[in-house]
């Protein structure tokens, strides 16, 4: 046991491990905050759709030769988020169909571009990294870490500042609108913040696994807790715990970071599912 701690401590002397840890915990925290709202609004798949858009944008950035691909992927993802939200309101193309259309379209075009204009000799390794995020979290530059810290603080502040409004718009949009809450504005805010988190989270778990980071902590918390506040707080704690322990496990065991974190999330979900099940049984007597 002591050996294990020593191994972990020795890893933490490396700066890239420290960076990975800071960024991982922050991303987990932010994604879980919005996860509760997205799950309750039946928008679980928006994370998937947007992350595939971000993948497409990253491919374009790589082809063009930008070193910091956030310059392209961030605005593209934000615009996609706003568009998706609009289509689900106008309902000419149904919300889920619009998400599916955009996400697979971007995924295909992105991979196509990376193949036609390869930037390195090993295209499939590049693609695998972008999809599952295994390497990028360990190769963060100082600038990227600071961007991540800044955007996380911004997300946190927005969430705390608009917490009551986000609750109202999530629980009953029509009522909120009728009593003069600017529901469209807050929906827009939710979409933009979701897009920011997704672009950040691509570093941690890659674009295929982002939905897991967003929905699992929220779903776990909802099994057991019964008020919006307790669900939000506990899902943040669950998410940070899972990200931290997933990172540690992956460093020690040498497993890929993203899938390890998601695996921990799944295990925690089942534990909470069981607790919730037992609770409801006990109550019914």
């Amino acid at each position: 046991m002591i050996e294990l701690f020593e191994t972990i401590a020795s890893y933490f002397q490396f700066q890239f491990v420290q960076y990975a840890f800071i960024v991982g915990v922050l991303i987990a925290l932010c994604s879980s905050l919005l996860g509760v709202t997205l799950v309750l609004k039946r928008f679980s798949f928006i994370g998937d759709g947007l992350s595939h858009m971000a993948f497409g944008a990253m491919a374009v950035a790589a082809v063009v030769g930008l070193t910091n691909n956030m310059i392209i992927s961030m605005p593209v993802t934000i615009i996609a988020a706003i568009l998706l939200l609009r289509t689900s309101q106008n309902s000419r193309i149904k919300g889920d169909a619009a998400v599916a259309m955009l996400s697979v379209g971007a995924l295909a075009i992105g991979y196509l571009l990376m193949n036609i204009f390869p930037t390195s000799s090993n295209v499939s390794a590049d693609v695998c990294t972008t999809l599952f995020g295994s390497v990028s979290i360990l190769t963060l530059s100082t600038v990227e870490v600071w961007i991540c810290i800044g955007l996380s603080i911004l997300t946190g502040l927005i969430f705390v500042f608009f917490y009551n409004k986000i609750f109202a718009v999530t629980f009953d949009e029509n009522f909120a609108r009728a009593t003069g809450v600017k529901a469209n504005l807050y929906n827009l805010l939710i979409a933009v913040v979701t897009a920011i988190i997704i672009v950040l989270a691509m570093n941690l778990v890659g674009s295929l696994l982002i939905s897991a980071l967003i929905i699992f902590p929220a779903l776990s918390a909802m099994r057991v807790f019964k008020s919006f506040k307790s669900v939000t707080i506990s899902s943040a704690i669950i998410s940070v715990f899972c990200a931290a322990s997933g990172l540690l496990i992956s460093i020690v065991a040498g497993t890929p970071v993203g899938p390890t974190i998601v695996a921990v999330d799944i295990v925690v979900f089942f534990i909470f599912f069981l607790i919730g099940f037992i609770f409801s049984r006990v109550k019914k007597g």
Binding site: F175, A178, T179, K226, S227, F228, S230
Partner: protein, 235 residues
């Protein structure tokens, strides 16, 4: 001056009018029941009244003392709400948000108002309970308390007794009556003919529209037709 008047209003979606050239007005303290068959435009009228959709033509005039957002609203339940993790307290106090504008947190007055409305509707024991675990009647009372937090002048109720059992239905009607006696104006959509007992004014939508006092409505041929149809539906 009437509390709320509709002047030559036409409503509908995407320039397809459902109702055209409708005029009526509501006085302070009225209890208006809006009747009509499915598709007659009851819900659309309600949404227009609440400002959720724009009227195609005409205008809605509010009394000087009433702001457009000072209408309390009891919507029909949505699928999202059925398994929503929220406590009764969280839901009731969210009715105060409209007044708060940009301020991020609830003020002391908001908490007092929410507390008072919880007491008024007899929800003290349920304050910390989870909304999704309550019975249908209790859930309606929670939403009514929230509506009261957003307005103490006008309440708009969208089929409030749908899905409730007869005993709870009677209780809810009594509760609404008592709010009306306190001076709150009630506007209610209903399929239910019981609503007729409680209202003092009727708006009947359909091929023909009727607006006026309940006594006149009960004598009108429209009422007879509606009764016959309603009777058949209930069989």
């Amino acid at each position: 001056m009437p509390l709320l008047s509709f002047e030559n209003i036409s409503i509908g979606y995407d320039n397809n009018p459902i109702l055209e050239n409708l005029s009526f007005s509501i006085e302070q303290g009225d209890y208006l029941a809006i009747l009509g068959e499915n598709g007659a435009g009851k819900s659309t009228l309600l949404k227009t009244m609440l400002g959720l959709i724009k009227p195609l033509d005409g205008k809605i005039v509010f009394d000087v003392g009433v702001k457009k957002t000072e209408i309390g609203y009891l919507p029909q339940q949505t699928v999202v709400q059925r398994d929503f993790p929220a406590s009764v307290w969280e839901i009731v106090i969210s009715g105060c948000l409209a007044k708060d504008g940009i301020r991020p947190f609830y003020a002391k007055e908001d908490k007092q108002l929410a507390e008072a409305n919880i007491k008024k509707l007899g929800l003290e024991d349920l304050k910390k309970r989870c909304y999704r675990e309550l019975s249908g009647g209790q859930q309606q009372r929670v939403l009514l308390a929230r509506a009261l937090c957003s307005s103490d002048k006008v309440l708009v109720l969208d089929e409030p007794v749908t899905g409730l059992d007869p005993k709870v239905t009677i209780q809810l009607y009594e509760l609404i009556d008592s709010l009306n006696k306190e001076g709150i104006t009630i506007i209610m959509i209903s399929h239910d003919l019981q609503a007729l007992k409680h209202a003092n004014k009727i708006l009947h939508l359909g091929h023909e529209t009727f607006f006026g006092n309940k006594e006149d409505y009960l004598k009108s041929p429209l009422y007879q037709i509606f009764m016959d149809k309603g009777g058949k539906q209930n069989d």
